[in-house]
Assembly symmetry: C2
Homo-oligomer: 209 residues x 2
């Protein structure tokens, strides 16, 4: 997976807490038909067995679609479910450790929350940077100051890596985010909370790309 051209489009971040009781598998199945470039499973509350079973179910749905499947944070779950890689933040496993455990072919995305993080990542062979959060959002409460469109644009000029913007992105601002430098736009609630996830995904694709 050294080709990074897949970082281009709508990137779905999904987890039980974001789905408000709705079935995760149905949301992934619906939205992938409208075009996704990546799916990331993020579970911060589930026990390991539940997380693993959910990962295996999504992996099975995505098999053969060509859409990479990533696990947030948990390298053990990624290994056990044979996911394509992980997305890690600055409080997760250090990048070098994650790469050593997952091997050279794995996709490893890294969230950058400060300018120091961006600079450090220039020396890492990460698959993409997660620009987090681009806008303030209620979904993640543990992140730092929002980058804004200006911050995103600065990272685009300074970084060699593909950029996935996340945080408060919806169909109203998707175009601006892509124009400011995002290769992909990651959303949680814009798809997971939508009455019609397929329509919501289509609208994001049309708005952004």
């Amino acid at each position: 997976m050294l080709n990074k051209e897949y970082i281009n489009g709508v990137y779905l971040v999904i987890g039980e807490s974001a789905c408000g009781g709705k079935d995760l598998e149905s949301i992934v199945e619906a939205s992938l038909h409208a075009g996704l470039c990546c799916v990331q499973l993020r579970e911060k509350e589930a026990d390991t067995r539940t997380f693993l079973n959910r990962a295996k179910a999504l992996k099975s749905i995505l098999k053969g679609t060509g859409i990479p499947f990533l696990i947030n944070d948990r390298i053990d779950i990624a290994l056990a479910a044979q996911a394509d890689g992980v997305h890690i933040g600055q409080s997760d496993m250090p990048y070098e450790t994650a790469r050593r455990l997952l091997g050279p072919q794995a996709i490893i995305g890294l969230s950058v929350e400060s300018w120091d993080d961006v600079k450090t990542a220039q020396n890492l062979d990460v698959s993409y940077l997660g620009v987090s959060p681009v806008f303030d959002t209620p979904t993640k409460t543990d992140t730092k100051t929002a980058w804004g469109l200006e911050g995103l644009s600065r990272i685009r000029k300074a970084s060699k890596h593909p950029l996935v913007a996340i945080g408060g992105i919806d169909k109203e601002n998707a175009r601006q985010v892509v124009q400011a430098g995002a290769h992909a736009i990651a959303v949680v609630s814009a798809i997971c909370s939508a009455a019609n996830p397929e329509e919501a995904t289509r609208a994001l694709n049309q708005a952004g790309f």
Copy 2:
């Protein structure tokens, strides 16, 4: 680590929440001088980076002592910190998956919470069974009915595996637990909450073995 004779003595389970603000490293350093057969790091609230750094610190303390160092649940942390293995429960990674990820030399302990768990484990090459909980305890709230001394004794007769009893063990009941069939007695608060962890460990050793 195919030799299982190390499952014999006082087994310390430690984690930040059990230590009430006291330094984990100091507790491990103090208690290992009084005799420990195993140390397990259990962190249910810490982020991955914090958990990993703590695991590396304890690994460093235990290096060269011959005392196995295990991680509760998190196989990624065990791999990254080069721990000797993991302790898993019935809501963690399935045993076979854990074994595949960690390899044949790793120590893998498995908690049994029902008679079905005990029977299933007869066909697994686990390193030991955690008999959990042997008595009711405030430390773990997610476990099932306590086995009691009678249940422990039944498991000892039926199982081929070394047994580590956990849950509500202190110096007052340690002897009974060993006599009922435990090869090792695992404690959290009896050491972590003690004013003098070294004394507490010595008292458990003297009471139980």
